[in-house]
Amino acid sequence: MHAPDGFLQPSVALVTAILSIGVLALGLRHAGRELGDRQVPLAGVAAAFIFAAQMVNFPVAAGTTGHLLGGALAVVLLGPWVGMLVVSVVVIVQALLFADGGLTALGYNTLNMAIVTAFGGWAAFLLVRKVMPRTSGGVIGAGALAAGVSVVLSAAAFSIEWLFGASAPVAFDTVFGAMVGVHVLIGVGEAVLTGLVLSAVMASRPDLVIGANHLTSDELAVRSRVGMRPFLIGSVLAAVVVGVVISQFAASSPDGLERVAIDNGFAESATDHAFGSSLFSDYATAGVSNESLSLAVAGVAGIAVTLLVGGGVLSASRSVRRRQMV
Amino acid sequence: MPACSVVVRDLRFRYPGEHHDALHGLSIEVAEGERVAVLGPNGSGKTTFVMHLNGLLSMQSGEIRIGDLSVVEDNLREVRRVVGAVFQDADDQLFMSTVREDVAFGPANLGISGSELDELVERTLKRVGADGYADRNPHHLSGGEKRRVAIATVLSMDPHVLILDEPTSGLDPAGRRELIDLLSGLAQTQLIVTHDLPLALQLCARSVIVSGGKVVADAPTVELLSDVELLAQHRLELPMGFDPSRL
């Protein structure tokens, strides 16, 4: 999802750039303070690891492959601030050296792929970890679920930005349905991969996993063995449930193509709407008869992303303070 | 003359969470400008020992003196200038984007800058036979080149003592010979940790065997390597057909 230049309106590019720079600056301050100078080479090598891990192709079915994105993995391994920094650096380097993602798109690319996945993933991880058993299996499961959630959050964040800065006359509903729908599938893959990579690290060096810091060595020693197949079946089932819930949203707003045929010429009148003409991109709300529904979907998605990301930032700051007091 | 003595007395160290001492009362004295090979099986404490010499591991009990300098927290800055450590994996040592920046890293930390720094880098690279490498990416160097540049990164700090951890591992025969030529031409006191017994014989008049966290043998290298029984006791073996007495 490395969006190129011009994919969203300049206003959104500017606002997200300011936001991302602010969060990065905070992250640098935290990382600089958190564990001192050791973090510098460590964060750099970890960023190289995430970059390399994204190059590993995993088989999905019958020869098709997918790859890891790594946002949630990074925070479970390295903690929220350093993890966020590491994934941001990966996104920046991909744009700067590989032309993968536009330079003017760095604001929203960093926000969606690094900041939202890191803090949203961290919040989801903390929440799930609470209901999981205090074992390494619990940490792995929470990490896997958080990874799946983080990918869907990232897609939702993009859809919301589309609402403000669409560059094409495709309605928010269509973008939201397609982005989130596709990313639920990608999320399953991300969850499985993150879980497996985490379990490999937990098996050899559990002390390196920040997300498992709360466990005593006795709790770490408990090996809950879950087979590969049950694990996969479980994650696919979870995805189906999430997919059904989301398709309920999408189904209530008619399919994009159909809509176009019915509402030809509607775009002009929609711009008169109080919301449509001011805050939101004309495009994103155009072509949808039930504009309030579209805004409701956007609102719910926005609240979900904000709550999780905000919660992640909050608990991340709190954990830093606690460590400083010790 | 840039060399000084090394004195280690009764060094003890235990890694956190372990039940055995990694170092169990290790003592050794090395004279100014002397080259000593540190031999011993894997896990004997060799690397733990040398990591104490520049304070990368902080001492739990015992005493280390580098020349007049005591290795304690307050002296670490000076100790690390005087003791240059060349690590086993050159990719750990060469962490910057160019050879120039890597060789300049140490002296720049000491406050040297500008043209003085540039000249120092050029001079040091020439000394290790790597002149003209300055703008290359360390990743693109061969194993032997990496090792020589790694040595340059500490020579540029003008150290009095050199610690080399497995300097010949992974080198081809020519690279190994070039390295030996380089090391034998350096005036610094040298401690060479190695499994390469012929290297010890070629470079060092004296060798010690570290086993179980202390020095169990300390003698002229020829003598040590001729004692087949002693070597076998500590999992050391000469290459087949190699006879130290006939050198």
């Binding site: 011009g6 640098l28 750099g44 050296l97 | -």
Partner: protein, 254 residues
């Protein structure tokens, strides 16, 4: 979502002695960012402006002498967005035109054009920058532009070790293939995932050893500045003329 990062770090820079190669990195960086911003804010109807921008961007590629093949190969990163852009006219509303019997939205076609031209020109500028500037130089440029040192240092370490890690990964992969591992289904991926986990552990330990190597050479928490040459005012003026040209095109045409 593109997984193929084409080449690894050591192959991004293409050695050469062109005018573009000789420019100082910080001026190049600023000029490219400024040019891309100007392109990004250019209204999509200004076809003439984009045509002139394209001439400008391609001149840089031509001057740099990196070759059409390399350029096109690197441009391939935007393919996923071309695919997206092509679908847009089918999904969009508003006034439509008939193209070989299919009804396409006019507005949607403009959107397709907008995404294609901006993505293409933006990527072209990035490619021109990274292909003509050695990574180390680019990092110096960032330092001189006051990008936080900590951030530059993290990026520098990342770039130094990507190729090392990719090689480690390749070795692990070969050893798996050598033992007959040929996964085709999702439930066969455990060995690959384990190797990724092992790679993390090795990376972490590498990071710790690098830190020790830094301490051993007097590191005290601040990366030393080794190269402090600054670009001259003349250099700045000549390079900034480039995005300025783009801006002039924008103002004149609009």
């Amino acid at each position: 979502m593109s997984g193929a990062h084409g080449s690894t770090v050591s192959r991004i820079f293409i050695p050469g002695d062109s005018q573009i190669h000789r420019l100082s990195p910080e001026t190049k960086l600023v000029a490219v960012v400024a040019a891309v911003i100007v392109m990004a804010v250019t209204p999509r109807h200004e076809v003439v402006a984009f045509a002139l921008d394209a001439v400008g961007a391609w001149s840089v590629i031509a001057l740099s002498g990196i070759g059409v093949r390399t350029y096109l190969k690197r441009l391939a990163v935007i393919i996923p967005f071309i695919l997206f852009a092509v679908i847009v006219p089918f999904l969009s509303g508003g006034e439509s035109v008939q193209v070989v019997g299919v009804s396409l939205s006019v507005d949607g076609l403009w959107a397709t054009w907008n995404i294609l031209v901006k993505a293409g020109l933006g990527a072209t500028m990035s490619i021109a920058l990274s292909a003509t500037t050695p990574v180390a130089e680019l990092l110096h440029g960032m330092t001189r532009l006051r990008v936080p040192r900590l951030l530059v240092a993290i990026i520098a370490f990342m770039l130094r070790y990507i190729d090392v890690l990719v090689e480690q990964l390749g070795r692990m992969r070969r050893s798996m293939v050598a033992r007959g591992h040929d996964p085709r289904w999702l439930w066969q991926i455990k060995p690959i995932a384990s190797s990724a986990g092992a790679l993390f552990v090795r990376s972490y330990e590498r990071g710790e050893r690098v830190h020790q190597a830094m301490l051993a050479r007097g590191y005290s928490g601040v990366m030393p500045v080794v190269n402090d040459r600054h670009a001259s005012t003349r250099e700045w003026l000549s390079v900034m003329a480039y995005p300025f040209m783009f801006a002039v095109v924008l103002v004149v045409v609009v």
